[in-house]
Each structure stands twice: as C-alpha cells, then as structure tokens.
Amino acid sequence: MLIKKPDDIKSSEITDKKLYLTRRNFMRAAALAGTTAATGLVYRRFAVPAPPPLKGERIENVQTADSTTNFPPPPAEARTSYEEITNYNNFYEFSTGKTEVAGAARGFVTRPWTVAVEGMVQRPRVFDLDDLLKIAPLEERVYRMRCVERWSMVIPWVGFPLAKLLAQVEPLGGAKYVAFQTLLDPKRMPNQRSGVLDWPYVEGLRLDEAMHPLTILAGGLYGETLPPQNGAPLRLVVPWKYGFKGIKSIVKITLTDAVPPTTWNITASDEYGFYANVNPRVHHPRWSQAKERRIGEFSLRDTLPFNGYGEQVAQLYAGMDLKVNY
C-alpha cells in the first residue's frame, strides 16, 4: 500500500534550521537584555544619585575660627565636606528623604524675609533678615552636629550668639523659655501639604540655654550663605543637643513663661524629649545612642556626653535627672 506523504507544507516554506536557531537565540538575547535593562531602570528609579550642590554667596567679614572671639576652640576632628553637609539633610518641609532635600529645596526663595521677636519682651520687633544679620559680628563656629538618628558631622557655621538678638528685645523678668517657629508656606515648602508632622515646625529652649554663648543663630556655612536644605536663611544651632533642636528657616521667636511645645515631642513624646541633650547613656527606644557614625568615616565613634560640650554646658543641668528629662 502506498502511503502518501502529507504535502501541505512545502519544503520551501519550512524555516531553515539555522535561521530558526538564530531567531531563537535572538529572542532569548532580547528577553535577557530587555528584562535586565528594565530591572536596572526600576532600581534606578528608587536609588537616585545625588545632584551636584548649589553654591551659596560668599559672606564678607566673617571672624574666622582662629580669631580670639571664637568660643570654644574648634574640635580636632576633620570638617565634614561641603558636599556631604549639603546633600544629607533632615528637613521634612521639603522631603523625608535625606538625600532628596537638596533637590526638593532648590530655588527656595529667602528674600524678603522677616523674623518676629515677641512675647514677654520689653521691645518686641520684626527684624528684616539683612538687619538681623548685622546685630553682631558674624563668626565662624566649627561645631559637632549629632543627629538623633546616630550620624554626625563637623560643620563650620557662620553666625552669632542668639543672646545678642535677645538682648535687643530685652526679655521680661518672667520669661523662662524661648519658642521658635519655622515658616509655614506649603507653596514654598511643598511637603507641608503632607501630614508627616504637625506644621509649622516648632522648637524651644530654656532661657538660660538660649542665652548660652554656644547657642547661635546661623546664616551660613563654609563662609557662604546657607543653602536652602540646611535651613536658609536663618537657623538655630545648639551643638550639645540632637540636631532636630536646630530649627530651620525661622520666622518667629517668642519669649514665654511656659514650656513651649516642640514638634518631635508632639510626634513621639516617648522618643524625643524637650531637652534632647546628646547623651550616650540615654537610648532611643529603637536604637542605642552610645555610638555614632561620623559622615565620611567607616567605623563608629563613641558619642560624647553633651556632644563633647559638657565642660561648657553641664552646669545648666546640675541636679536634674537626665534620664527623665531626656
């Protein structure tokens, strides 16, 4: 019996084996390359390299760190680089990502700017920023900065003692505390539209802490005006306290006789107290405060009581239980 071969596929129509294999290999290579590129792009979408920093304007006539008025001598440790100081910031008004603040704060307008100093004072006054920066000679103060998140920097601030500003308004005898407030303007500080924190950001000091010569109002760093991400145009620097006490972009300072509310204390009172003095023996509930990572260094450093400024400030807290008053 003759079996007819099916001839519905002509031999000319059958793909050549070689070509079939080439095509298959091509598809395979394309699948590999395509998915790998896609994975890489998705990863890059979330791991964005930092943008180049913006430079501030040079500040003239700054008394440098070696001048006699400077107090205390700068720490022996190396200064943290400008790039790192200006690209690693906690400034929730712009972004909760520390490396994203610089980009989000780009173009933040800080002129005109006024700071109201009011409350329990003899002479309340609204200062124009440029007048305020002329109250006292601007000094370079090289301070350690210890964040409550366990990282630290050494920053050459440019500023002047807060006491000099307070002297201008003459606090009344009953004033015991100083309250500070950041600008509230969601158009300029876009993350204020989120509910991450209670806006505006508020902070406070006891009057004797505010009057301490180490406490400064800073308008610059590394000899230049502050970039937005570091708290332009005017911020508080209290070097023996955790960084969040250093309120940024200040618009109001109020003298009062009651403990002022402070933003992080409102957010989580068991984690962030009013005093927030750097203390290696009082731990954050979620992490130890015994050590810190100095930005730019590989190994950890021991955290110092009062961030190394105990000699100057410890007497402010004589007789107080710092475990309770954290």
Partner: protein, 210 residues
C-alpha cells in the same frame, strides 16, 4: 497556553536578580550613595528582601488568576534571592553597625523590638532556604514541606512591621508594603473560603435546619 523554556527563563531570572546587587556595588565603588552609604545599603537590601519575598507570595495568586502554572517553577529561585538580600541586609547591620560584636548584637536584639522582629523574620527564612533543594522536598514530603514554607507569610508580616518601625515619621512606603502584603495574603484567605463553600456545595452538605 504559553509556556516558556523554563531552563532559559531561570537563567534570565538569575541575571535579573543580581542586577540590584550589581548596581548597588557599582554605586558603592563610584561613591554615588551620598553621605551615608551604609545607611543606604541597609535600607536598599532590606527593601529588596521584602520585594523578592512578595514576588514569591504573588506566584500562587498569579497562577490561579491566569492559569500560568509554569511560574511556580521560578518561585524557589525568587525565594532564594529574598534570602540572599536578607543576608546582605543582616550583614550591613552585623558588620557596619556592630562590627561583629556578639554581645552588643544580643543586647540589641533583646532590648529593641524593632531589631527583635527584624532578626526573627530573617531567622524564619533560614529553614526555608535550607529546605529548598529537591532532595529536602522529597525527604520532608510535599505536604510537610508546603506547610513549613507557610512560614514565609510570617516572615513577610514580620519584615513589614520591622520596616514600619524603622522609619521616624514618614510611614508612606512601609504602609504601601503592608497594603501589598494584605492583598497577597487576603487573596489566599478569600480563595480558601470560596473553595470551601464550593466543595461543601458539590458534596451536598447543607446547613442544618434550625
């Protein structure tokens, strides 16, 4: 039904799984991770652990919803990648945060729920990785193996809680992870209920008269 060449697909998956690690290493090498590269690496590897774990949990819903049964053949590899990134995540803590100080680590795990939960979730992944070979599946028997691997649900829940506890105030991303996990686990629960009802109906079981 479409069903790809599994061997080659596994190779593609293998390469893709290495991409984040390779890019992370590249960024470290070129100093592109910003001021605190260690913090960045810790967060990135932690998130990647959860992402790969979630992909393994997405396999069952994907199969049942699309009928693409072949995806199950890729699950083990994805799970091992979750373990791989979990190991890297743990390493950043043990090495760069504690410098292999055993006493400090124990004290930290003991005193801080944030660390306790993270560590426990990681440890749950260890038996899963250890029983991922064909030989172990045979030795355990499919049913017991499957039961054991339900631990991945617990590890995922623990991992998300750990993530949530790790942020200071902005909980947006941990909450997104929690929602994704709720969908993945919620699907199983709903499907289980529906299947049980359907089974009851075919067996003629009726609710007893009152």
């Amino acid at each position: 039904m479409f069903s790809p060449d599994i061997k080659y697909t596994r190779f593609v998956l293998f390469v893709n799984g290495l991409v984040p690690a390779a890019l992370l290493a590249w960024d470290v090498y070129h100093g592109r991770l910003g001021a605190n590269p260690i913090e960045f690496a810790t967060r990135a590897t932690g998130a990647l652990t959860l992402i790969f774990l979630f992909v393994t949990l997405a396999v069952t819903p994907l199969r049942k919803l699309t009928g693409a049964n072949w995806v199950v053949k890729l699950r083990r590899q994805v799970g091992l990648y979750a373990f791989f990134y979990g190991c890297l995540h743990l390493l950043t803590y043990v090495w760069f945060d504690k410098f292999f100080g055993a006493r400090e680590i124990v004290a930290d795990v003991w005193a801080r729920p944030f660390i306790t939960i993270g560590m426990a979730s990681f440890l749950l992944l260890v038996p899963l990785a250890a029983t991922s070979t064909n030989g172990m599946i045979k030795r355990l028997g499919g049913k017991r193996w499957a039961k054991l691997h339900k631990l991945s649900y617990v590890a995922a829940v623990g991992g998300v809680i750990h993530f949530y506890m790790g942020v200071k105030a902005d909980t947006t991303i941990p909450i997104l992870f929690a929602v994704a996990l709720a969908l993945l686990l919620g699907y199983r629960w709903v499907k289980g209920r529906m299947d049980a009802t359907a089974k009851g109906a075919t067996l003629g079981i009726q609710t007893p008269p009152r």
